[in-house]
């Protein structure tokens, strides 16, 4: 609880600082919400759910509520590098808060190529203006990897033809915090898979600042918005794991909270897609699930307003929030155990007869995973 009180104090201090800044809007958020039919009660409910999402004790929901009211003073610059726009698409799906209230009420979106009205020369002016005006104060979100081969020339953006490498270095310079949204910005992603023809790297590898990595291809909308809210509330980065992922979202393995975990423990496995086990919702480990090796909150938060997640749809987790997963966890329909846990698959195959075999697989998987946990660092 000591840690929590310290954190609470820090949050309070941060909000005081924010309060000193000039307001961006005449009316308070409360007034604006009332105009839109959102009651104080609804708002407090929302704050409590964000608090729970961030794995903080309930008293923090006051801070969340206050932060939301002050949040529109934090400028956000969102850059696209070597990417597929999947992370922006994920952001567009956000529902707590949803995108329009995020933009109108919570942040000041200064630059975002998929959403902004300006184009070309005028868009580049917006970026230059924001980098200068808000130097030292803006949040920088990055989507996509940084191509570094060929002096970065595999990506240029803007009328002036600057490379992605130049742009990210300049933008990182004045950022109050940097958030790598998705596995590409975090760890290089798909273009960094072997043989990595463009020398694609994660943002943290090319800038000299701390970077929060939101692994996931794409990360869920909850993990993106939750991380933004954390920064706004506390003016600092959340506690991170060894890969600089926020612990509140990436603190547990997919396997730990999986809805099929009971099937795993009972030794009930899908042997082939579409079989009786698949119809019954058995464990997907033997058809390639990487849940035991992957840190993310997919089983608890799911995707798209809690509608589903890959394991519910009958497909094993592919490990998309882990570094190098395209190489380390392929091929995706085979258990990783065939590489790392020699002999254990044979055990798994016999567990129909010897139920405890499942535990052996479990112990093996957990042993590997605990290597990661053991070396993870506190923020």
């Amino acid at each position: 609880m000591d840690t929590h009180s310290a954190l609470y104090e820090q949050g309070r201090k941060r909000l005081e600082e924010l309060r000193q800044l000039p307001p961006r809007q005449d009316k308070s958020l409360q007034e604006r919400m009332l105009e839109h039919g959102v009651t104080r009660r609804d708002f407090m409910k929302w704050s409590a759910s964000v608090t729970a999402l961030l794995a903080l004790p309930l008293p923090f929901s006051n801070l969340v509520a206050e932060a939301a009211e002050l949040a529109d003073r934090v400028p956000l610059i969102w850059l696209h590098l070597a990417e597929c726009t999947g992370c922006s698409e994920s952001l567009v799906r956000a529902d707590t808060p949803n995108l329009d209230s995020l933009i109108f009420d919570h942040i000041s979106l200064e630059y975002h190529e998929t959403l902004m009205a300006a184009a070309g020369w005028q868009a580049e002016e917006n970026l230059e203006h924001a980098l200068k005006t808000y130097k030292g104060n803006y949040l920088l979100a990055v989507e996509g990897a940084v191509p570094t081969a060929n002096n970065g020339a595999f990506l240029t953006v803007g009328c002036k033809g600057h490379t992605g490498l130049e742009i990210i270095k300049e933008a990182a310079e004045g950022a109050a915090a940097i958030i790598s949204v998705g596995t590409c910005a975090s760890f290089g992603g798909v273009q960094a898979a072997a043989p990595n023809p463009t020398g694609a790297k994660g943002v943290y590898e090319v800038v000299d600042k701390a970077v929060v990595n939101l692994g996931g291809c794409p990360p869920s909308e909850k993990n993106i918005v939750g991380t933004l809210m954390y920064f706004i509330m506390f003016g600092r980065l959340p506690a991170l794991d060894m890969y600089n992922r926020p612990k509140w979202a990436y603190g547990a393995r997919v396997h730990d909270n999986c809805e099929r975990r009971g099937r795993f423990d009972s030794g009930e496995f899908v042997e082939q897609f579409g079989d009786e086990g698949a119809k019954q919702g058995y464990c997907l480990y033997k058809v390639g699930c990487k849940g035991p090796y992957t840190y993310n909150n997919c089983p608890t938060e799911r995707f798209n307003h809690h509608v589903s997640w890959p394991v519910l749809a009958g497909h094993g987790c592919m490990g998309c929030s882990e570094p190098n997963f395209w190489d380390d966890m392929a091929d995706f329909e085979k258990p990783l155990g065939r590489q790392l846990l020699h002999g254990l698959d044979a055990t798994a195959d016999t567990i129909g007869a010897v139920i405890l075999g499942a535990t052996v697989v479990g112990i093996g998987a957990h042993a590997v995973a605990s290597l990661f946990v053991g070396s993870s660092k506190e923020d």
């Binding site: 005449d26 997640w309 497909h315 329909e333």
Partner: protein
């Protein structure tokens, strides 16, 4: 004295696109160049991987038409291996495809293309009461367009604008003379812009029901689909149907009404009445409604001749790289290409914004290749799909097109325009939304006697396999081509819609649809080229899709790193 206009980044699209045009003293576009400025090398990365992982990996070509590549890549492998997937799997894939179209086209029209037609600043001076009356002209049951709703939207945006910080609306081309909506019409569209943000979330949820998540769903495998439990759950099926109805309702009362409103307001605007200057169109069979039946049928139209629609001959497809940043001495069929990146950089010259690095149009200038059909450039996309099906007499399409022409009073020629391209996308969405209920019902019927969703693929490592997948993605005809050897991917290529449309000029001087579309366009102010952006957006660019490499057969992978020149 001609002037060069540089537009980079083209915003509100997927990916990195640069357009340059040259205008004469009357501000009329004489020449245009289209370039992608990012290369990622996905197909190189596919080399030596198991064909079972292809779908998951090629899906990462794009996070917007995310499901299209997933499905097309998976079906290319199935074609190569000669696998016929169970009927239920075909229906489920079709329903997921429906969900993608209903999502993607709505987001494109409102959030990407919309601000080219809608002047947000003008909406702030509208009279909400009057606007509510205006909305009744375009739909007898308008959505999110009652007086109270419009007033709330207006006040919300007004409050936002009055702070002096426009956020995502800052520094756009507001006030440009080619914006044609009245303040009231702008306000209606602005309200729908916000409503569509809500509706697109529901559309994404539709796909997530059978797909696990959206973007980047995860329920297709070579041999079928994995979401058998969702299929067998009546609750899940109804969840899809319920969300489908919400989105379909918005498409009819919002999207369709807004396109009719735009057709009326922009029907006399010169800058949107051109823009279809390549008169070759192509589309493929897609959207299974029953075993062997499709909503849309395949065909090729050359030289605008709607009377002669031929079937697609896959052998006639080849890609030219004369003006793309790759080395190759002749056009190559997707099965037999080579790839060597050859980046030659930009050239400094005077532009309307002063001295800037610009595209070297005489030489190489884009990461997009130039696909050709029998040596000719071809436009693909919703307009092509509707034209092919209209020409073939596909009743659903003929009725939809004629209905819209009748409702707007526009002649059939109006289809061959930027406005027509945007209207065609709406009609395609509406048709997909309505007709897909047949697929849904076919699934329900089939499930009563058949629960199969998967057949296990078999690969013989001693055999060599070749195959391709061909589907209609939201941006047009998409094809993936694969060669399998030793049980692994030996060769892979995607020929995607945006490559067909956005490719640079070829060896014979033939220009692609983007570049052709811009020639002859008159700009109000070359320093604020709204008209160019509107035409380019009407194609719905998707650059990450468009940029990829041809095969790497016989080459050392090291070449990809060292061969390009620096800036």
């Amino acid at each position: 004295m001609n002037q060069r206009v540089v537009i980079d980044p083209i915003t509100r699209i997927e990916g990195h696109l640069r357009i340059e045009v040259e205008v004469d003293e009357n501000n009329v576009v004489k020449k245009a160049w289209s370039a992608s400025t990012l290369w990622r090398g996905i197909e190189v990365i596919l080399k030596g991987r198991t064909p079972m992982d292809v779908g998951l990996l090629v899906q990462r070509i794009c996070g917007v038409c995310t499901y299209s590549h997933y499905r097309c890549g998976t079906e290319a492998v199935e074609d190569a291996l000669g696998i016929k997937i169970p009927l239920n799997a075909r229906y489920l894939r079709s329903l997921m495809h429906t969900s993608l179209f209903m999502h993607d086209h709505v987001v494109h029209f409102y959030h990407l293309h919309g601000l080219d037609w809608v002047d947000v600043v003008s909406a702030l001076s509208a009279d909400p009461a009057k606007a509510a009356q205006v909305a009744l002209k375009y739909s007898d049951k308008p959505i999110a367009a009652g007086e109270g709703e419009l007033r709330a939207v207006q006040e919300r945006v007004k409050g936002f604008v009055e702070t002096g910080k426009l956020g995502p609306f800052a520094n756009a081309y507001w006030g440009n003379g080619t914006y044609k909506f009245t303040p009231e019409q702008n306000l209606i569209a602005l309200s729908h812009y916000l409503k569509a943000l809500e509706v697109q979330r529901v559309a994404a949820e539709m796909l997530a029901i059978f797909g696990g998540k959206q973007p980047h769903p995860q329920s297709l495998v070579v041999g079928g689909v994995t979401s058998v439990r969702d299929m067998l759950s009546p609750a899940r099926l109804q969840e899809w149907k319920q969300k489908h109805d919400i989105v379909a309702d918005f498409i009819e009362r919002g999207y369709k009404a807004d396109v009719i409103m735009a057709a009326e307001a922009f029907g006399g605007e010169a800058s949107v009445l051109g823009g279809v200057n390549v008169h070759n169109f192509m589309a493929t069979n897609d959207f299974v409604t029953a075993d062997g039946e499709y909503i849309f049928q395949e065909g090729v139209i050359m030289n605008g001749d709607l009377k002669n629609v031929t079937d697609i001959n896959p052998d006639l497809i080849a890609e030219d790289v004369t003006h793309a940043w790759y080395k190759a001495d002749k056009p190559q069929h997707p099965y037999d290409g080579t790839t060597i990146p050859d980046y030659t950089g930009l050239v400094e010259r005077d532009t309307v914004y002063g001295k800037l690095p610009t595209l070297d149009g005489d030489n190489k200038y884009s990461w997009v290749k130039s696909p050709r059909y029998n040596g000719e450039p071809v436009e693909v996309g919703p307009l092509s799909c509707l034209l092919v099906n209209y020409a073939k007499g596909n009743k659903v399409v003929v009725d939809a097109v004629n209905g819209l022409l009748q409702r707007t009073g526009l002649p059939i020629e109006a289809l061959f325009t930027t406005l027509g391209r945007t209207a065609a996308r709406m009609l395609q969405t509406s048709i997909v939304a309505q007709e897909s209920i047949k697929t849904f019902n076919a699934l329900l019927t089939n499930m009563l006697s058949d629960e199969a969703t998967y057949v296990k693929p078999v690969i013989d490592p001693n055999k060599e396999y070749v195959g391709h997948g061909m589907i209609e993605a939201p941006r047009g005809m998409l094809s993936h081509w694969i060669r399998i050897k030793g049980g692994l991917v030996e060769n892979y290529q995607a020929v995607v819609p945006t490559t067909w449309n956005a490719g640079p000029v070829d060896a014979n001087g033939k220009v692609g649809p983007y570049e052709a579309a811009l020639v002859g366009l008159k700009l109000e102010d070359p320093a604020k080229p709204l008209e160019v952006i509107r035409i380019i957006h009407s194609f719905d660019p998707c650059m990450a899709c468009a940029v990829h490499v041809m095969d790497y057969k016989g080459q050392s992978l090291g070449e990809f790193r060292v061969d390009a020149k620096s800036l």
